[in-house]
């Protein structure tokens, strides 16, 4: 009876294993949309767990929109587009190219967000950004407090867009990127990096303060390129995400008050 699923003792709950197992069947196409899943009883016996565990797994998949179930009928695989949540599973996150791809996506979001923020920011937004910058100045580079204020700055920029989804998506992607960095474990820190990073942030803030959309996106592009090289990524990667690049941003950044 107690089969413990030989694999991992470190393993999470049995319901998680069952859920990801079913999830994999769906992802790999062995269970197509509309197909009926085996009965809970059958799943329980095939996995060697209790029906309760199977139900917890089912509940989880149902909440993710991957399957739907009806009392008296059974459980069925839902259409892929019906997924109500966006999730990046842990295994994929570990792969090397995931990091690069996530970073690219993040850059895409951030550069646009910076431009939008420059046109819509309020005084309270500026206040929040400056507060986050102050927090970064007083915390040692790479510390928890530093990271918290770093994320706080970017979130403040996102919230200045007056579009709550911007912040929601950006924070989500940024956290995945951070997880990926931690998984790779290849970061080295120096005092130079702290100064450089702070300077990049300040340039972003200056442009946003001035209402300079192109300058803000340009500054953000440079910041992301710097961050990329800081974590060991070819720096010029965010290029395609930079809208105002070849054009005359110097003109846009000239003659504007630093505030």
């Amino acid at each position: 009876m107690t089969l413990k699923l030989d694999k991992v003792n470190r393993g999470p709950h049995l319901s998680t294993l069952v859920a990801s197992s079913i999830s994999r069947e769906i992802a790999q196409g062995r269970l197509k949309p509309g197909d009926q899943l085996p009965t809970e009883q059958a799943l329980a016996t095939t996995f060697g767990v209790s029906r309760n565990v199977v139900r917890e797994a089912i509940a989880r998949l149902r909440s993710e929109g991957r399957i739907w179930s009806q009392q008296g009928r059974g459980a069925f695989v839902a259409d892929a587009t019906n997924a109500t949540v966006l999730t990046i599973d842990y295994e994929t996150l570990q792969r090397a190219d995931s990091f690069r791809n996530l970073f690219e996506l993040r850059g895409m979001l951030e550069v646009q967000i910076a431009a939008l923020a420059a046109t819509r920011r309020s005084d309270a937004d500026i206040e929040a950004m400056e507060q986050a910058l102050d927090g970064m100045r007083t915390a040692p580079y790479g510390s928890v407090a530093w990271l918290k204020n770093d994320l706080g700055f970017h979130r403040a920029v996102a919230e200045a867009t007056r579009n709550p989804y911007m912040g929601q998506f950006l924070v989500f992607v940024s956290e995945r990127v951070r997880e990926s960095i931690l998984a790779a474990g290849n970061q080295q820190k120096s005092d130079d990096m702290a100064r450089t990073t702070l300077g990049e942030h300040e340039r972003i803030l200056t442009a946003i303060k001035a209402g300079d959309a192109k300058g803000a996106s340009a500054a953000m592009t440079r910041h992301l390129a710097g961050a990329a090289s800081r974590v060991g990524l070819p720096g010029g990667d965010a290029e395609a995400a930079s809208p105002a690049r070849h054009s005359r941003l110097r003109k846009a950044m000239r003659g504007r008050a630093a505030g």
Copy 2:
């Protein structure tokens, strides 16, 4: 005992009600990160359900990263940044401004995706786009087949970026936008719209074929502006998401083969 919740609130399961109830407590700050949840037994009695139902709710919240639990200790509220899934709850989706905000986010993604796709597309990607366009040509405007191919086109563009997250995010956001449109229920269709929409898609494809990043993003911007006005949104909204606007895209689009 427990209110059956007359409105069809996303699922008649008790575990769903319990999960959203706890989730609300967290969202409204009555349960702060680090706080310990009541014991499963206590939750069961307060909600008037069995401990099994509570466990299904807990499993769901745990899979979303909202709480974490350890055997023998209890369940605790996790940091907000630890959420492993991105979810847009149904209530927020119904609000009027959600539609506008989601559409803006989608535009932001798509315009950049189009530019990237133009520089990275393969022959197979072009093939997929053309196939989707053919599907749109033969299906009546607004039909299920039409919508399916429409989404297929945009997904093909996203997949041409060689970054799987692009497609993942885009499809997710697009589906939420579609849900929001359906919830509002204010779309009217005509033959003109079909032709216009098809033309916009064709221009996008032409630019991507030619490897013209700026042309692709410009065409996508125009398409999104058209789509916005088609669903009753002020058309100029995607402006900030348009990188190549004032600059000379005519020059970029000149002298390139239509394919």
